[in-house]
C-alpha cells in the first residue's frame, strides 16, 4: 500500500491535523460536538468509554473491599451497672458507610447494587463499545484508505445515542442504583424495588445503548463493503478490519433481540403484562433464552475486535507476516456464526436434559476457531524481529491471559463439570480472564500502539511497560484465586461467605489494589504524553497498514489523495515501511515466499 503522492509528513500545509480547530473555547467545543469526522467521534468515544471504565472499576474495588472478611456476630460479656450483659455487635459489613451515601439499608444491599453497577456499566457502557467505537471508529476508515465511514452523520448520532443511554444508566445510579445483576433475570428484575423507576431506567439505558451499537455496526459493514481503497481486495484488509467486520455483523443481527427483550421487561414491570413473571402467567426461563440469545453472541462482539488488535500488534512489532491470514479471518467469521448457536450453555441448570446435551456439543465448536487463532499468533512470532515495548508486551500478556481464559472455558462447556462450576466464582474468574485478560489487555495494547498516531505524541515507553507489568501481576492475583474459590464452592454475587473462603478472598482483594495501581501508572504516563510528550513521527513502529502513511495526527481528510493498495498489510520482508529509514527496518537479503 502506498499513497500516490509522495508527500512526507509535513509536506502539505494547507490542510491541518484533525485536532487543530478554531480559536476560542466555545467554538472548539461546538466543533467537536457537531463533528462528523470519524476520528473526532472515535476520540469522543474513547473519552466516554474510559470514563465508564473508571466508574465500573470503582464499583469493582468497592465490591472487593466488602469481601475482605465475612460477616460475624461478636458477643461480648460486659458488666453494665453491676449486671453481666451480652453485648452483640456485627463485624465485616465494610460497605456500611457507602450504604448510607447511596440510600441502601445495609452493606448487603449496597453490595448488591454495586456489583450490578459494575456489571451493567462494564458490559453495556464499556466493553461492548470499547474497541469498535473508539479505535474502530478512528482506524477502520483510515486502514482501508477511506476519508470517513459510509454514513458520517449516523456515526455522530450513534455517539449521542450512546451518551443518552449512558445518562439513563448514570441517572439510575444517582437515584440509588439497581440490584438486579447486569443480567436482569426475571422474575426478580420485574418485582424488585417495585415502587421505584430506577430499574426501568437501567433497563432503558441498555435498550438505548443497543441502538448505538446497531448503528455503528451497520455503518462499519457498509464502509468495509463500499469504501475500500482501489486495489484492496477482501484478503488485503488488515485483520483488525476483519475482526471489526465480524463484530459488526453480530451487532446488527443480535442486538435487536436484546432490544425487544428489554422492552418486554419494561412492559411487564410498568404495565403488568405477564410475559416472564409466572405470577402473571409468564415464563421466567423464556427471558433467559431471549437474553442469552443476544448476550452470548455479544461476548464475541467484545472479544473479536480485541483479537483483531492482537493480530496487528504481533505482526508489526515482530516484523513478520501474520501466520495463517485466511485461517484467522475465517475463524473470526466462524466464531461469529457459531456464536448464535450456543446461548443455551448459560442455562444448563434451568433447561431440559436433551437441550442441555445439544448446547454442550455446540459450545465445544467455538473452542476450535479460537484455538486456531492462538496457534497462529504464536507461530507468527517464529523467526521474527521481536521488539519489546508496551504494545508488544500487551500482545504477549493477552496470549497468556486469554489462553487461560479459553482453556478454563472447557470445563464449563462440559456438561457435568458445569453443573458444579455454574454460577460460582469459577465462572467469574473465567469471564474476567476472557474479557479483561482478553479484550481489556488488547484495548490497552491498541491504545498504546495507536496513541502516537491519534494524538501525535509519543508516550514514555518505560512508564507504559511498568504499567503493563503491574496490571499483569495485579490481574492474575485478583482473578486466578477466584478459580479456586469457585471449584471449592463459593457462589457468585455473595456479599457474605463462610469462613473457609476468606484467605482466597483477601488475596483477590489485594490483587485488585495492585491492578488499580497499574492503571494509575498508565493514566499518568498517557497524561504526561499529552502534555509533554515528544512529537510522534508518522510511522513510529514501521507499520505497513495505511494509517502509517498519513501524518501523526492524521489530517482532517485522512489522506491528501486517495491511497492505492499495492501490497499486503503484513509484507514486512518485501516492503520498506513508509516514512521510515530503511536502516532501521532492513529487508531480509533473500525474501521468502508467502
Amino acid at each position: 500500500m502506498s499513497t500516490l503522492d509522495a508527500h512526507a509528513s509535513g509536506g502539505h500545509h494547507e490542510e491541518g491535523s484533525y485536532l487543530s480547530g478554531p480559536p476560542g473555547m466555545i467554538s472548539r467545543i461546538w466543533q467537536w460536538a457537531s463533528t462528523v469526522d470519524h476520528k473526532k467521534i472515535g476520540v469522543m468515544y474513547l473519552v466516554a468509554v474510559l470514563t465508564m471504565f473508571f466508574l465500573g472499576g470503582v464499583a469493582a474495588l468497592a465490591v472487593r473491599y466488602e469481601l475482605l472478611d465475612p460477616v460475624r456476630t461478636v458477643v461480648t460479656q460486659m458488666e453494665v451497672d453491676g449486671v453481666m450483659t451480652e453485648v452483640v455487635s456485627t463485624t465485616g459489613q465494610r460497605l456500611d458507610p457507602i450504604a448510607k451515601i447511596i440510600g441502601a439499608d445495609d452493606a448487603n444491599q449496597a453490595y448488591n447494587r454495586l456489583f450490578t453497577l459494575h456489571g451493567a456499566v462494564m458490559v453495556f457502557m464499556f466493553i461492548v463499545p470499547s474497541i469498535p467505537a473508539s479505535l474502530g471508529n478512528f482506524f477502520l476508515p483510515i486502514m482501508i484508505g477511506a476519508k470517513d465511514v459510509a454514513f458520517p452523520r449516523l456515526n455522530l448520532l450513534s455517539w449521542y445515542i450512546y451518551v443518552v443511554g449512558s445518562t439513563f444508566g448514570v441517572l439510575s445510579i444517582i437515584m440509588g442504583g439497581v440490584d438486579t445483576g447486569w443480567t436482569f433475570y426475571t422474575p426478580y428484575s420485574t418485582s424488585t424495588d417495585a415502587d421505584h423507576i430506577r430499574v426501568v431506567f437501567m433497563v432503558l439505558a441498555a435498550f438505548i445503548l443497543g441502538f448505538s451499537s446497531i448503528l455503528t455496526g451497520l455503518n462499519f459493514v457498509v464502509t468495509v463493503h463500499k469504501l475500500r481503497a482501489p486495489g484492496m481486495g477482501w484478503f488485503d484488509m488488515p485483520l483488525f478490519i476483519w475482526g471489526l467486520y465480524a463484530t459488526s455483523i453480530i451487532q446488527v443481527l443480535a442486538t435487536p433481540v436484546i432490544g425487544i427483550t428489554l422492552f418486554l421487561l419494561i412492559f411487564e414491570r410498568v404495565m403488568h403484562i405477564g410475559i416472564f413473571d409466572p405470577a402473571m402467567g409468564g415464563d421466567p426461563v423464556l427471558y433467559q433464552h431471549f437474553f442469552w440469545f443476544y448476550s452470548h453472541p455479544v461476548v464475541y462482539v467484545m472479544i473479536l475486535p480485541g483479537m483483531g488488535i492482537i493480530s496487528e500488534l504481533l505482526a508489526v512489532h515482530s516484523r513478520k507476516h501474520i501466520f495463517g491470514y485466511r485461517a484467522i479471518a475465517f475463524s473470526s467469521l466462524g466464531i461469529a456464526a457459531v456464536s448464535f448457536l450456543v446461548w443455551g450453555h448459560h442455562i444448563f441448570t434451568a433447561m431440559g436434559e436433551l437441550a442441555a446435551i445439544l448446547f454442550s456439543g455446540l459450545t465445544f465448536l467455538v473452542a476450535i476457531p479460537t484455538a486456531i487463532k492462538v496457534f497462529n499468533w504464536i507461530a507468527t512470532l517464529y523467526k521474527g524481529s521481536i521488539a519489546i515495548n508496551t504494545p508488544m508486551l500487551y500482545g504477549l500478556i493477552f496470549l497468556f491471559t486469554f489462553s487461560i481464559g479459553g482453556l478454563t472455558g472447557l470445563p464449563l462447556a462440559t456438561l457435568s463439570t458445569d453443573l458444579h462450576l455454574h454460577d460460582s466464582y469459577y465462572v467469574v474468574a473465567h469471564f474476567h480472564y476472557v474479557m479483561m485478560g482478553g479484550t481489556v489487555m488488547a484495548f490497552m495494547g491498541g491504545i498504546h500502539h495507536w496513541w502516537p498516531k491519534m494524538f501525535g505524541k509519543m508516550y514514555n515507553e518505560w512508564g507504559g511497560m511498568l504499567g503493563a507489568t503491574i496490571v499483569f501481576i495485579g490481574f492474575n492475583i485478583t482473578f486466578f484465586t477466584q478459580f479456586f474459590l469457585g471449584t471449592q464452592g463459593m457462589p457468585r454475587r455473595y456479599a457474605n461467605y463462610v469462613d473457609e473462603f476468606q484467605t482466597l478472598h483477601v488475596i483477590s482483594t489485594y490483587g485488585s489494589w495492585i491492578l488499580l495501581l497499574g492503571f494509575l501508572v498508565h493514566l499518568v504516563t498517557l497524561l504526561h504524553s499529552l502534555i509533554a510528550g515528544e512529537k510522534a513521527p508518522a510511522n513510529p513502529w514501521g507499520g505497513l497498514t495505511l494509517e502509517w502513511e498519513t501524518e501523526s495526527p492524521p489530517i482532517e481528510h485522512n489522506f491528501h489523495h486517495e491511497p492505492v493498495c499495492t501490497h499486503g498489510p503484513y509484507d514486512f520482508d518485501t516492503v520498506v515501511p513508509p516514512h521510515c529509514d530503511p536502516k532501521d527496518y532492513p529487508l531480509p537479503s533473500n525474501p521468502g515466499s508467502h
Binding site: N112, S191, A367, I368, Y382, I386, S403, D423, V498
Partner: protein, 387 residues
C-alpha cells in the same frame, strides 16, 4: 447402576488443591476426575504455547539492523493438524461430560424423595412423613479464652439425610429463581417458580473420619448454597446438609413429625422461614421486628398499632398478621419495602395459627391476650407463653 469411573478414585495433590477435598458422592468424584483430565490437557497446551512464546521472544528479540528471517506464513499440513487435534479432544470431552451428567441426573426409582421449596430467603425441606427440620447451628463459634468474647457466624438450618442412600430432590420456588447447590456433590439445579426441577445424589457412607469430638456422634456436614442471585439476603440463603446414620435420621424425622403446641411450631417455622428478615430481639432488619420493641421512636409488637405506607394505621391483631403472611404487599409498614415472598399456598391454616401464637409470646399485649383465652377455656397454658 454402575458407571465406569474415569480415573483412579484416589484424588491427587492438585485435585485436593483445586477442590479443597474429595467429592462426597460417586457422581461428584467422577466429574472431578473429568475436570482433572481437562485440567491436565489444558496445562499441557498452556505450557507448550507459553514455552514457545517465551522462547521465541527471547531467541528472536530485535537486534538493530537485523531483519526478521523470512519463513512461510502458511502451512496447510500444520494447520490441518492443529485443527484436528483440538476438534477430536473436544469430542472426547463432550462425550465424557454427557456420560457423567447422566450419572448426576438419573436416580433409582426407590430413592428418598425430599421436597425443597425456596422462598426469599430460606430453604424449606419436607421429608416424606411431612416433617421439617427445626434444627439450626451458627456457622463457626469461636470463644476467646481470655476475654470471653464469642465470635460466631450467622445461624443456618440443618437438614438431615441418611448415609449411603439415594436421594431425589423435587424443587420449586415460591417467588424468584433460586438455585440449590451442594458443592460436595458437585451439582446444582435452578429452583424455578412455575415448574418442578430436581436432581439426585447418593449420600456418602460415614467413616471413622466423621466421628465427632465427643466420640459418640457420627455425622458429616455439607454446605448448601443458593447459587442464583435472588436479592438482598441471597448470600445468607445457605444451609447445612447433615449426613447421619439411618437410625438417627429416622428418629429425627419421627420426632419432628409429632404434634407440637402452636407456639413451639411457630417458633420452628420462624427459624426456618422468617429469620432472614425479621428479628425477635427488637433490632432492625430487612423486615419489621416481631418483638415488642421501639426502634427510632416507632413501636413494634403484637397488640401495638402499625403505621402503613398508605398513611393509615392498623392494629397488629391476629388478622393483621394473617394478612401479612398471605398477602404481604397489601399492607406495608412505613420504612419498609414490599420485598416479602407471598406465603399464600405455602403456609397452611395450622401454620398461620402457629406463627401468630408464637408472635403473641413476643409482646406483653399478646401474652396478656393468650392468658385470657387460656383462663376462659380452662386449658393448661401452652409452653413458652408465660416466659
Amino acid at each position: 447402576m454402575m458407571m465406569p469411573v474415569l480415573a483412579s478414585t484416589e484424588p491427587g495433590y492438585f485435585q485436593k488443591l483445586i477442590f479443597g477435598g474429595d467429592a462426597a458422592s460417586r457422581a461428584g468424584a467422577q466429574s472431578d476426575a473429568l475436570f482433572m483430565m481437562i485440567f491436565w490437557f489444558s496445562v499441557f497446551f498452556f505450557v507448550l504455547l507459553m514455552g514457545l512464546m517465551v522462547y521465541f521472544v527471547f531467541k528472536y528479540r530485535r537486534r538493530p539492523g537485523v531483519a526478521a528471517t523470512p519463513s512461510p506464513s502458511h502451512n496447510t499440513l500444520l494447520e490441518i493438524f492443529w485443527t484436528v487435534v483440538p476438534s477430536s479432544s473436544m469430542l472426547v470431552f463432550f462425550v465424557l461430560g454427557f456420560q457423567s451428567y447422566a450419572e448426576k441426573m438419573v436416580v433409582p426409582d426407590n430413592s428418598l424423595e425430599l421436597r425443597v421449596t425456596a422462598v426469599k430467603w430460606a430453604w424449606d425441606v419436607k421429608y416424606p412423613n411431612g416433617a421439617t427440620s427445626p434444627e439450626q447451628q451458627p456457622l463457626s463459634i469461636h470463644v476467646d479464652p481470655d476475654t470471653g468474647v464469642v465470635t460466631k457466624g450467622l445461624d443456618y438450618p440443618i437438614f438431615y439425610v441418611p448415609e449411603d442412600t439415594s436421594v431425589q430432590l423435587k424443587m420449586v420456588s415460591n417467588d424468584v429463581i433460586h438455585s440449590f447447590w451442594i458443592p460436595d456433590f458437585r451439582t446444582k439445579m435452578d429452583v424455578i417458580p412455575n415448574r418442578y426441577t430436581g436432581y439426585g445424589f447418593h449420600t456418602p457412607t460415614l467413616t471413622e473420619d466423621d466421628i465427632m469430638a465427643d466420640n459418640e456422634t457420627i455425622q458429616r456436614d455439607l454446605w448448601i448454597f443458593c447459587a442464583e442471585y435472588c436479592g438482598d439476603e441471597h448470600s445468607r440463603m445457605a444451609a447445612t446438609l447433615r449426613v447421619v446414620p439411618m437410625d438417627v435420621y429416622q428418629q429425627k424425622i419421627s420426632d419432628w413429625g409429632k404434634p407440637k403446641s402452636p407456639e413451639i411450631e411457630g417458633e420452628q417455622l420462624y427459624n426456618q422461614m422468617c429469620k432472614a428478615c425479621h428479628t425477635i430481639d427488637g433490632t432492625a432488619s430487612t423486615g419489621p421486628t416481631w418483638s415488642q420493641a421501639t426502634i427510632d421512636g416507632v413501636q413494634f409488637g403484637y397488640g401495638y398499632d402499625a403505621q402503613l405506607t398508605d398513611g393509615t394505621t392498623v392494629p397488629r391483631d391476629d388478622n393483621y398478621y394473617r394478612r401479612s403472611f398471605l398477602d404481604p404487599h397489601a399492607e406495608v409498614v412505613v420504612g419498609y419495602k414490599p420485598l416479602m415472598s407471598d406465603f399464600n399456598g405455602l403456609l397452611d391454616e395450622d401454620q398461620v395459627f402457629a406463627l401468630i401464637a408464637y408472635i403473641k409470646t413476643l409482646s406483653d399485649r399478646g401474652r396478656a391476650e393468650s392468658s385470657e383465652e387460656t383462663e376462659n377455656t380452662e386449658e393448661p397454658a401452652p409452653a413458652g407463653s408465660e416466659s
